[in-house]
């Protein structure tokens, strides 16, 4: 980690109204969870639908997308990345620092709402809340690594990330059983199932999920580093 890059990334992510805007998605989830608690509609299907369907499948990847791309794609787009790249710093250190800060910030916007939402819906900090919290934490980390890689490989990182979330995680993984093996959500759930075995219906093998999550983080970070070393600045002349 490089302290200066970490501070610049952190300040860039949360400057102005950005922090508040980032909080809108999790706040929306919490508002619905609170409403369900107030009207006493907290049956198992509702809990799974909100914690799994809404929070984990939608809010978490979107928050990670905004933060993951905000940590790097924004600087590449506007060209200010040049002030980091004109320094004798290993590109891997830049990527890992960005990943570390993006994950920390994203965890604050995903894990904390998951804990509060879980307690609101179940009334306790029990297995369901703990299980989803672990799954969300793992997914957040892997998503950040993935979206940071998208930042370096595409000028349209946010769009590519959205397509990935909606098409792959949202549609294909739900339709094709085998696709779960390559789903960030499923990896998170499979690892969480090692802590709370009864929360998730039919998770992947835990070891497989953990190995795939680790491989994904290492592979995306390595690839992002390689691409950052070869980053070409656009020029009109």
């Amino acid at each position: 980690m490089n302290g200066t890059i970490a501070r610049l990334t952190f300040a860039g992510l949360l400057r102005g109204w950005r922090g508040l805007l980032l909080a809108l998605l999790p706040l929306g989830f919490l508002a619905i969870a609170l409403l369900m608690r107030v009207v006493d509609a907290t049956d198992q299907a509702t809990i799974d639908g909100l914690l799994g369907g809404l929070n984990m499948a939608t809010v978490v990847p979107l928050v990670a997308l905004i933060i993951g791309t905000g940590a790097l794609a924004t600087e590449i787009d506007d060209g200010s990345i040049i002030y980091l790249l004109t320094k004798p710093i290993k590109r891997g250190k830049i990527i890992l620092t960005k990943l570390g800060i993006a994950t920390l910030v994203a965890l604050a916007f995903t894990v904390i709402p998951t804990i509060i939402g879980g307690i609101l819906l179940t009334g306790t900090f029990g297995d369901v809340t703990i299980g989803y919290t672990v799954a969300v934490a793992v997914s957040t980390f892997v998503y950040c690594a993935l979206f940071i890689m998208f930042s370096v490989i595409s000028k349209h990182a946010v769009l590519v990330g959205l397509v990935y979330i909606l098409l792959w995680e949202g549609l294909i993984v739900g339709l094709i059983e085998g696709a779960r093996v390559l789903s960030v959500q499923s990896w998170g759930q499979s690892i969480a199932a090692q802590v709370t075995p009864d929360v998730f219906g039919n998770p992947l093998n835990g070891v497989l999920g953990a190995v795939l999550a680790v491989v994904a983080v290492i592979a995306t970070s390595w690839f992002a580093t390689t691409r950052l070393r070869s980053l070409t600045l656009a020029s009109e002349t």
């Binding site: 860039g12 002030y83 004109t86 004798p88 009109e236």
Partner: protein, 304 residues
């Protein structure tokens, strides 16, 4: 330190941005001159390690600049692009650059760099409140903070007022006097004339000329100049011009109702033309240089 560009070309798809360029940039101030779109920024990007040559090599004292982070200990880059962490104050921006370089006393280095560009008074304002010239100077401070041996500047005088221009020129001259290599790009002839001791001219991606500024300026001035003339008697004017030997060629354009002339001595031509018209009782309506744009001047160098 010497920048070596050896048979370098760069193309994007079917567009050739830099075409088989070879040059050495030695210590001192070198101006990279050329019209917009000539390939100056692409060449600077390749020197700074931000674009890979499609063919050829770019090196700094023998070290390749592409994919080589260690060269940034020696290079300071002032980009033309504006964005620069606008939420920071000028002081924090330069300090961050000093820390990123891993300097032993980043605070002192940042203060020295800010003082060099004469921005101490405004250093505690955020960058988004700066004028273009002030931003340019803070970019300079960030590029100078590690005391680099090589300074690359892309159109550094854009947006600067005359006083800021003189100040920056003075700073670059001092760096040059210290034995450093300063390379700046510009599309403005006068800027290069005032500052550079050596120039490299780029036109349409090609290396058009190289050497001492005065020699190249002379080449530019002594080239054949083309004018379009309109008068109340074009044929008589054409005859008088040829008889007087003022022009090397004349073309009567009946459709355009104008004369197209070419002269190799534009100084004498511009002084003598009105006299010649008066003596021959010809009324001149219009005298327009047909090839005075920088592009055509540079184009002449390429053809030459």
């Amino acid at each position: 330190m010497t920048i070596t560009i050896n048979r370098v070309s760069k193309w994007y798809g079917h567009v050739v941005a830099v075409n088989d360029v070879t040059m050495n940039i030695e210590p001192g101030i070198t101006g990279l001159l050329g019209p917009n779109g000539a390939g100056k920024t692409t060449l600077l990007n390749m020197i700074a390690g931000f674009a890979a040559p499609s063919t050829g090599e770019v090196s700094l004292d023998g070290q390749p600049t592409w994919r080589n982070e260690s060269i940034y200990r020696q290079i300071g880059l002032v980009p033309e692009r504006e964005p620069m962490y606008d939420f920071l104050t000028g002081r924090k921006f330069v300090l961050a650059n000093a820390k990123l370089h891993g300097l032993s006393d980043p605070g002192a280095a940042a203060e020295a760099a800010i003082a060099q560009v004469d921005m101490a008074e405004a250093a505690d304002r955020t960058l988004d409140t700066y004028s273009k010239g002030m931003r340019q100077r803070m970019k300079m401070a960030a590029a100078l903070v590690h005391n680099p041996q090589v300074l690359l500047l892309d159109e550094p005088f854009n947006g600067m007022d005359p006083r800021q221009r003189l100040h920056l020129m003075d700073l670059l001259r001092r760096m040059s006097a210290d034995g450093r290599t300063v390379l700046f790009s510009s599309h403005i002839l006068e800027e290069v004339e005032q500052l550079a001791t050596h120039i490299e001219v780029m036109v349409a991606g090609r290396h058009a000329a190289s050497g001492d500024f005065r020699a190249i300026r002379r080449l530019m001035t002594d080239r054949p100049h083309q004018y379009r003339l309109r008068s109340d008697n074009d044929r008589a004017l054409a005859a008088a011009l040829v008889a007087d030997g003022l022009v090397v060629s004349v073309q009567v354009d009946a459709e355009d109702e104008a004369l197209h002339v070419q002269t190799s001595d534009f100084g004498t031509f511009t002084v003598k033309l009105p006299k010649l018209a008066r003596e021959n009782k010809i009324r001149l309506y219009d005298v327009t240089p047909a090839d005075e744009s920088l592009e055509s001047v540079f184009g002449y160098l390429v053809r030459g």
